[in-house]
Symmetry: C2
Subunit: 158 residues, 2 copies
């Protein structure tokens, strides 16, 4: 815990969140089965500025859960520097995504789900709500997006 | 990705998992609401060798979810060095835990849920299943515990 820093502004947290969305490779994916059992697994992702893109086997627990219950909560970052993202999931068959988007995912994730024998699907997640906090002192102002809209302007690019 | 290392043995993974259970402070907690919405949040924990202990407000999303649906999936470690723990949850009122166990939790977590005005509860989780892996090459042999029983002996203490 770094007690020397002030809580970040919401604008700073948005910038930090967008940096992670742009540069991180993995996040935690929480889903629920048709009968309500929680599931959690780390997966690689891509971000195009509007939506996150995941790929996992259609027949994996996450693949089955999201087909039955297309809502997801994502944890990006570390337990003491988190971005929590709630979103709704669109499922695409593996050949239904534009090729350049698939190429981009493969370059970032380090694997190409289109090239595997196990049947994969794409899971496209548009964030509905985003929160970000580091320690308890950042719990106020942790909400950055609500109803799919950012609550703060993007910071000036320097 | 460290391509120079071999996949760990199950015994090594058990030792690494027990080290994290003993020394880490936070983990990711996935739960499901009564109507099946996934939830995920990082929380601090303690481990007594048999069960994990969490504390969160009774009226928080995780507190309400676990009261309605007392099953949990925990992610311990990083996305490229994970221990996944499935377990069933016993809920204890905040004054129902032995004092030394509460003291131990407070020392490790850095906060004492018994001293707060917000009503907290304890959530005691006995692992039913534990898996551990780093990269794709460790997906085989990732299961370390099934049905509440370790599948490998504890390594010799050196």
């Amino acid at each position: 815990m770094d007690d020397t820093t002030e809580p970040r502004s919401r604008a700073q947290r948005r910038a930090d969140t967008e940096r992670r969305l742009t540069h991180d490779v993995d996040l935690w994916v929480a889903s629920s089965s048709a009968d309500g059992a929680p599931y959690l697994v780390p997966l690689s992702f891509d971000w195009d500025g509007e939506a996150l893109l995941l790929a996992t086997p259609a027949d994996s627990p996450t693949g089955r859960n999201l087909a039955a219950n297309p809502t997801v909560r994502l944890g990006l970052g570390d337990t003491r520097d988190v971005c929590m993202i709630d979103g709704d999931v669109d499922i695409l068959e593996i050949d239904a995504l534009a090729r350049d988007q698939g190429d981009r995912f493969a370059a970032r994730a380090g694997f190409d789900p289109r090239a595997l024998t196990t049947p994969y699907r794409w899971f496209r997640i548009v964030p509905r709500r985003i929160q970000a906090w580091r320690e308890v002192d950042e719990l106020p102002d942790r909400e950055l997006m609500r109803g799919g809209r950012w609550l703060v302007e993007q910071m000036e690019t320097r």
